[in-house]
C-alpha cells in the first residue's frame, strides 16, 4: 500500500536520509528503531510530507506524493499521525479536537461526528472529559485523545512519532496499551519508538536506521537475535 523509493532528505549541507527504500504491506506493524539522530522521525515525517523530501519518491495507493498534481490533503486523510508532543489544539475542547477534521472536511455531519467521538472516548474512559480543554488533561490522557483524533478519520495507516517520549514514566503504560489495542484491530502502523520491550511485543517488522540508511529490514525476531555488530551494540546500549 505504501512504498518509499530512493528517499533523500538534507537540511542544508546536513544529509539526514540517504537512499531509503522499503515497502509497507496492509496489516504490517513496522517499528523504526535506531540511535538518536539517525533520521527516524525525519523519515516518518517525510511519509506524509509534513517534511518535504529532497529527493526520491513516496507512493501511497499507487499515487505519487511528490507529484505536484496530487492532492496531499486527500492523501493525508488516509495517513494518520500521532506526535511526540501530542499537538492537541489548546483552544478547542477535547470533543472539538476530535471532531474538527471530520466536520470541516465534510466527512460526517456534526451529530454523527460527535456521537462517534463520544463512543471513541468511552473506549479510553475519557467520556467525562469531552467538554474540557486539553490543558486540564494529563500527558497520557492528551496522547490518548490525540490517538482517538486520528482514529475517527479511519486512516489506512497510522504513523506514530515517538508517542511516549514526552510522557512521565507512569503514563507510558496507558498509551502503549491503547496503541496495542489499535494494533490488534489489524490497522497498518509505522511506529518510531525507544520502548524496546513494546516494540518486541507489537511489531512484526523492524527497520533499523543508522546514519540515514536502513541497516536492517526484517522480522522482529531476527532483529533481536541478529549477529550484526551495530545492531548488537545498539541493543546492548538500550538495555543498560
Amino acid at each position: 500500500m505504501l512504498e518509499v523509493k530512493n528517499l533523500k532528505k538534507c537540511f542544508g549541507n546536513n544529509v539526514v536520509l540517504k537512499d531509503i527504500n522499503f515497502k509497507v504491506n496492509k496489516g504490517d506493524i513496522i517499528s523504526i528503531v535506531g540511535p538518536s539522530g539517525s533520521g527516524k522521525s525525519t523519515l516518518l515525517r517525510c511519509i506524509n510530507m509534513i517534511e518535504k523530501p529532497s529527493g526520491g519518491n513516496i507512493i501511497f495507493e499507487e499515487k505519487s506524493l511528490m507529484d505536484k498534481n496530487t492532492n496531499l490533503s486527500l492523501i493525508r486523510e488516509k495517513i494518520g499521525m500521532v506526535f511526540q508532543q501530542f499537538n492537541l489544539f489548546p483552544h478547542l475542547t477535547v470533543l472539538d479536537n476530535i471532531t474538527l477534521a471530520p466536520i470541516k472536511l465534510k466527512l460526517m455531519s456534526e451529530d454523527i461526528a460527535k456521537k462517534k467521538a463520544i463512543e471513541l472516548l468511552k473506549t479510553i474512559d475519557l467520556k467525562d472529559k469531552a467538554d474540557e480543554y486539553p490543558n486540564s488533561l494529563s500527558g497520557g490522557q492528551k496522547q490518548r485523545v490525540a490517538i482517538i483524533r486520528t482514529l475517527i478519520m479511519e486512516p489506512d495507516i497510522i504513523l506514530f512519532d515517538e508517542p511516549t517520549s514526552a510522557l512521565d514514566p507512569e503514563m507510558v503504560g496507558e498509551v502503549l496499551e491503547l496503541i496495542k489495542k489499535v494494533a490488534d484491530t489489524g490497522k497498518t502502523m509505522i511506529i518510531v519508538s525507544h520502548e524496546m520491550n513494546f516494540v518486541k511485543k507489537i511489531a512484526n517488522r523492524i527497520l533499523f536506521l543508522d546514519e540515514g540508511k536502513i541497516m536492517f529490514d526484517g522480522k522482529t525476531k531476527d532483529f533481536f537475535n541478529s549477529d550484526n555488530e551495530r545492531i548488537k551494540e545498539f541493543l546492548s546500549k538500550i538495555n543498560k
Binding site: F89, L105, M153
Partner: protein, 243 residues
C-alpha cells in the same frame, strides 16, 4: 460691604462665570450639536478604519507568514514589506493629506470616507505586524497536526492557527485600536468635523477653550477606557483555553 460678603460675592461670581462659560460653550445656539456630530464622525471613522485594518492586516500577515514558513508568495511578500515600511515610516497626518490633497485631488469624495480610508490603510500596517507576531507565537506542531489530519493550509489557518494567534495578541490589538481611535483627531487637519475639530469650532466662537477641550478630553477618555474594558473581557473569555 464687610469682608464676609465680599468673599461670598467672589465665590458667587466665580460659579456664575463657570455657569456662563458652560452655557456659552455647550447650550447656547445648540453648540452641543457640534460635539455630537463630531463624536459620531469619530466613531464612524474609527469603526470602519478598524475593520479595514483587520481585513487588510490579516491578508498582509498571511502573505508574509506564508513566505516566511513555506517560501511561497515571493512577490506578495515584497509588496507587503514595502507597504508596511512606508506606512510605518511616515506620519499618519502626512498620509492623510497625501490621500486627500493628492490622490483624491480632482475627485469629489466625502471627506469622512477619506478619513476612513487613510486611517484604515495606516492601521493595516500595524495590525499586520501584530498578527504576524501572533502567528509566529503558535507552536509549529499545530500546523503539522492540522495538515496531518487532511485539512488544507487555509483551513488549518482559519480554524487552528488564527484563533490561537488572535488570543495571544489581543492586548496588543486592543492597544492598536485605542491608538487608532485617538489618532482620528488628526482628521481635523483636513477639515473632518470629528470630535477634536468640534471642540475647536466651539472654542473659536466663544474664545473660551476650557469647556470644549475638557469635555472632549472626557469623551475620548470614556471611549478608550470602555475599549480597554472590552479587551479585558474578551481576554478573560478566551483564557480558559490556555494551554
Amino acid at each position: 460691604m464687610n469682608t464676609y460678603m465680599r468673599f461670598f460675592d467672589k465665590i458667587f461670581t466665580f460659579f456664575k462665570s463657570i455657569g456662563e462659560s458652560f452655557y456659552d460653550s455647550v447650550i447656547y445656539d445648540n453648540r452641543y450639536e457640534f460635539i455630537l456630530k463630531g463624536l459620531f464622525h469619530t466613531i464612524i471613522i474609527a469603526f470602519f478604519a478598524v475593520i479595514i485594518g483587520i481585513i487588510i492586516g490579516i491578508i498582509i500577515a498571511l502573505i508574509r507568514h506564508n513566505y516566511d514558513t513555506n517560501g511561497k508568495m515571493r512577490i506578495g511578500n515584497k509588496v507587503s514589506t514595502i507597504y508596511v515600511n512606508i506606512i510605518r515610516g511616515t506620519p499618519v497626518l502626512l498620509q492623510l493629506m497625501i490621500i486627500y490633497y493628492v490622490i483624491f485631488k480632482s475627485v469629489n469624495v466625502n471627506i469622512v470616507i477619506v478619513g476612513i480610508l487613510a486611517f484604515g490603510l495606516n492601521s493595516a500596517a500595524y495590525v499586520s505586524e501584530i498578527i504576524r507576531s501572533g502567528l509566529i507565537s503558535v507552536d509549529k506542531g499545530q500546523m503539522e497536526a492540522g495538515l496531518a489530519l487532511g485539512l488544507s493550509y487555509g483551513k488549518v489557518m482559519r480554524y487552528i492557527i488564527l484563533p490561537q494567534a488572535i488570543r495571544n495578541i489581543l492586548p496588543a490589538l486592543g492597544n492598536e485600536f485605542i491608538t487608532l481611535l485617538k489618532e482620528t483627531s488628526a482628521g481635523a487637519y483636513i477639515g473632518i468635523l470629528e470630535l477634536t475639530k468640534a471642540s475647536d469650532i466651539i472654542a473659536s466662537r466663544t474664545y473660551d477653550y476650557f469647556f470644549p477641550l475638557i469635555i472632549t478630553a472626557f469623551i475620548y477618555l470614556i471611549m478608550t477606557l470602555g475599549l480597554s474594558k472590552l479587551v479585558n473581557v474578551m481576554e478573560r473569555r478566551l483564557s480558559n483555553a490556555r494551554s
